[in-house]
Amino acid sequence: MEPFISIRGARKTYGKVEALRGVDLEVHKGEVVLIIGPSGSGKSTLLRSVNRLERLDSGTIYIDGDCVTDDKADIRQIREEVGMVFQSFNLFPHLSVLENITLAPTTVKKVAAIEAEEIALRLLKKVGLSDKAQAYPDQLSGGQQQRVAIARALAMNPKVMLFDEPTSALDPEMIKEVLDVMTALAREGMTMLVVSHEMGFARAAANRVIFMDQGQIIESAPPDEFFTNPKEDRTKRFLEHIL
């Protein structure tokens, strides 16, 4: 089967720091891939280059046959189909929850306002925040904001979702509510690329765990195998730190 996301020879340097040193990765439709690794390992850079928030120095990335790394590519078209959730939520503080979710569909896809609101309300119900449609982001807890951010990304009906450390900025008691939403999404068959250290989520929802270090993929395995029987020394040492 043709991979849904295909990354070949991805390289990226910031000044003298090599963030990515030739990364190859394939993700199939419906697959949930968790990327872990120490800070500075290049995992966020890799994720952010999938929707070209970072530009690669060399290498290619294809999503569903569209070349992301081609300068002539219609990147906006591609971004419409790639949802992204950030560590710091990045909700728009001047807009209500409902407006946060309807902004992109009405602006980019020219969906009628009423229809966009219907979609937004359905998604809010899905993330368990039906009563917060009229609230503003600063009135919500971190966990609620992140769930709104997920709903906002889903409103564009993406084919793949990118999560950049979605629970790192959250208090422990709020992590679960976000992971529950992500797990439900994974069960529905969403293709997901997740940078996170949430082992519980990995076991519950991931098909594959990838360990990155110093800009390279060191190990890739299904979660059970990865956590119980890692092959590489560097992976073992890292797991000792976080488990």
Binding site: N51, L53, R76, Q77, R79, E80, V82, G83, M84, F86, S88, N90, L91, F92, P93, H94, L103, A104, T107, V108, K109, Y136, D138, A149, R152, A153, M156
Partner: protein, 275 residues
């Protein structure tokens, strides 16, 4: 050496940089904590009003005459100020966007504009547009005044817009782009609405500074507040009385607007955002 150490200018360099730098010549913005009945603002504002009132009531000649002579000048001052601030905002928005543009030529033009205009005194710019360029384009006094002040203050506004836009966290633009918005859509729908809340107080300060600087246009035969005062003084030889009234009117207006700006700032600080 001994002398140098006690030099106050020298000492100032040792003080750490302030976190908030007022770009224009400072207007009197009341700080929280000095807002009692005897705050500097209250003393200045009500003091000025009281002095004006006492002079007019007890010395109607010449003060009441002066006061009734200047209102059309006041209207001109306001007209010039409001028009100039309006055009300066438009120029400032585009020049500010140009300052952060990734297109080199646009960026360079905007930056050169800001550097050049900020490097030339407003009075010289007024002379230049009215007299020097007057050789080719004959503008009326008020038109030249509004044009010069718009261009001059547009450069300051550009810096305010640039700083305001850059104060919005980078994640906002990224989130908008990730959703498929174009850069200009993201700017219009996400970044600028947030910027406006940040830059309202500094724009208010520019308005006050412009109100004061508008007195410069009196030299272009524009019958503004100062010009009217001068006209009264030169016919009646009541220089002290005329300029006292003019100074008090400027002071009352400036203090009034500075209080408005301070209230706006306070409100923004309290609520974080104005929904």
């Amino acid at each position: 050496m001994e002398q140098k150490k006690t030099d106050p200018g020298q000492e100032e360099e040792l003080i750490p940089l302030p976190t908030h730098i007022n770009v224009t010549d400072g207007t009197l913005i009341p700080q929280k904590g000095e807002q009692g009945a005897l705050s500097a603002w209250n003393i200045s504002f009500f003091g000025a009003l009281a002095v004006l009132g006492i002079l007019v009531i007890f010395f109607p000649d010449p003060y009441r005459k002066i006061l009734s002579f200047v209102p059309d000048g006041l209207m001109v001052t306001f007209g010039v100020t409001v028009s100039a601030i309006f055009f300066a905002l438009i120029i400032g928005l585009f020049a500010g966007l140009g300052r952060i543009s990734q297109i080199t030529i646009v960026n360079r033009i905007a930056t050169v504009y800001v550097e050049v205009i900020r490097g030339i005194p407003l009075l010289v710019q007024l002379f230049y547009i009215y007299y020097a360029l007057g050789n080719w384009v004959k503008l009326s006094g008020p038109a030249a005044a509004i044009l010069a002040m718009s261009i001059c203050y547009g450069a300051y506004m550009a810096e305010i817009f640039r700083a305001g836009i850059q104060s919005i966290p980078k994640g906002q633009m990224e989130a908008a782009l990730a959703l498929g918005l174009s850069r200009s859509q993201a700017m219009r729908k996400v970044i600028l609405p947030q910027t406006i809340k940040v830059i309202l107080p500094p724009i208010g300060n520019e308005f006050i500074a412009l109100l004061k600087d508008s007195s410069l246009v009196s030299i272009l035969a524009v019958a503004d507040l100062l010009r009217r005062g001068r006209e009264y003084a030169s016919t009646s030889f009541r220089y002290f009385e005329s300029y006292t009234v003019i100074a008090l009117i400027y002071l009352v207006m400036t203090l009034f607007f500075s209080r408005l700006v301070a209230m706006m700032e306070e409100r923004l600080r309290h609520r974080g955002t104005l929904h």
